[in-house]
Symmetry: C2
Subunit: 334 residues, 2 copies
């Protein structure tokens, strides 16, 4: 038995080329839920986190299209709404799947906030495009009226808002959820936390928190959650069977078991695409270097085998492997 | 020390005649958070629930206005999104207020589902208007294409969708949250639960849950949460200082301490307006009859005094008052 954090992204939440309907998302999640329930049935403590890119995109488009009639909330509010929407979707399908698998649990989605640092260099270089496409004239108005930063999109010929993507520093509800797990709640609950990496907030002058219009990378957020909950394993679920070197070239090779050192070398050599496999690899390295026992990148279908160490790109902790440290008794609660 | 459930509605979440902006909601919530923090500082275990009517209204209007570009999700998804949005709003302001009051706590909003029964008579008589106003021609299209029920609005001259308002039967995450509180989490957390009475779901044929387009009365939902968490007190926070008989007439009289029997008599006599004070009174009666020690209806400014038994309409448990039952040792955990 071990504590496993599964980070759901891409096809685990909705189909890649669908129309974006709720019915599609439900069908897709039902399939994912079956794999997740099997993990619980094998005796693991399961915690979930998830991405929210397409959902926030839809919420922002809705809010912009309705802005003449309904006051448009700040972008970070769409993050909060997406945590509600996706948390509900997961709860609906996973609670049923768990019961069918003979391991009934309450599925408890927690609205999560994640602290970012205003001094993060990402704030000087907003790079993540969000929301609708605008004409050059509309873009000028938005810069003036809302203070947005917009950039032309070279491929699709319009202008889009760009926001920073700072590193997540601390998941604010983490200590409470960890206390709940450590108090034995894991036997009756599956927590769903820090969707989309958590709603980005920054300290304000009066000792409180202010929402920040930004995109936290959900994989980096997952590594943070894994550290704060002291998970044994982090499994990043994506659309492909693992990380590959030479991806999309004739020399493409999927990585199986790979050491931190080797994976870092591939990362430094630019093997992994920014905004795609790169943040997953960074998250995996971050997690195992901070004490996680192992991290896996795999697809939904291989989730269970990935956790067993039989599929996906598997990165063991450098500590467990070191001859100077005991390997047998690696404690579950570091 | 006692476990107190506070149900926030109306002005506690946003101003009555504002424009519906996020900035307004933040300011209003900041004021409410100060009163809530004072309750924690007095040593009570605080749990929160809240309404979501205006927020769901805005989300539905946004979704309808954007429907040509973004597939419109079912209404119950807007309920989930509103739980995310309002949970985040509460967490932001309350976590700061708690720290300033010297009682730092994690504020943990839980996305909550509430079971309703398809055989509830409310499903035969949809009565709650939701979303936008439509012309008669649009209404006919919506009946045909979406299977909605629409009714003409006698005052504003358009057609609106109506949905059922069934009784909440069971809050699905309740046992997990109660286990967390009983394990001592209340010393470090304030849970925010079952916003809008919880997202309505009903059992489906395959042993799972299906979302239902309905409106659960948030006060009846609060009574259910209070029972499931075995709260000592339920405080319904609204825009007026309490319940009144002869409301809006020359004989208007605010009710202070009032017995279950007397309050039931006023309810039966039609003293309380449907959709307004009536469900609050029903919730209060429901809660104390099921074993709650007392229930209070009051406004934000009187919250602390209401919990002390010094303000608002206060309804003590009929059991505690009965001479046949011990009164002094009424246990905190019934």
């Amino acid at each position: 038995m071990s504590r496993v954090l599964v980070a759901l992204g891409g096809n685990a939440l909705e189909p890649a080329h669908g129309a974006g309907t709720w019915a599609e998302a439900t069908t897709e999640m039902r399939r994912t839920a079956k794999s997740l329930a099997a993990v619980v049935a094998e005796g693991h403590e399961l915690v979930l986190t998830h991405g929210n890119g397409p959902q926030v995109g839809n919420l922002l488009r809705e809010a912009e299209l309705a802005a003449r009639e309904v006051p448009m909330p700040p972008m970070y509010v769409a993050g909060a709404e997406s945590e509600g929407e996706i948390g509900f979707l997961i709860a609906q399908e996973l609670s049923s799947a768990l019961r069918r698998a003979g391991v009934p649990r309450a599925v408890v989605p927690v609205i999560s906030r994640t602290e970012v640092d205003r001094r993060d260099p990402a704030f000087r270089n907003p790079s993540k495009p969000v929301g609708r496409f605008y004409s050059a004239a509309e873009a000028r108005t938005l810069v003036r009226e809302r203070g947005w930063v917009l950039r032309p999109d070279p491929h699709r010929g319009g202008w889009r808002r760009v926001v920073p993507s700072p590193l997540p520093r601390r998941w604010l509800e983490g200590s409470a959820v960890r206390a709940a797990l450590d108090a034995g709640l894991a036997d009756r609950c599956v927590f769903v936390v820090a969707g989309g990496g958590g709603i980005p907030v920054a300290r304000n002058g009066s000792g409180g928190w202010t929402g920040v219009d930004a995109v936290i990378d959900k994989d980096r957020g997952a590594a943070l959650v894994g550290r704060q909950l002291r998970c044994d394993s982090l499994v990043i679920v994506t659309d492909v069977p693992g990380a590959a070197v030479g991806f999309g070239t004739p020399r493409q090779r999927w990585l199986g078991v790979v050491s931190v050192r080797e994976l870092q070398r591939y990362l430094d050599a630019g093997e992994f695409a920014a905004g795609s496999m790169r943040p997953k690899v960074e998250a995996v390295l971050d997690f195992v270097r901070a004490g996680g026992r192992r991290a896996v990148i795999t697809d939904v279908g291989s989730l269970r085998r990935g956790i067993r160490g039989e599929a996906g790109t598997r990165v063991p902790s450098p500590r467990v492997r070191s001859p100077r440290l005991p390997t047998g008794g690696a404690s579950r609660r570091r």
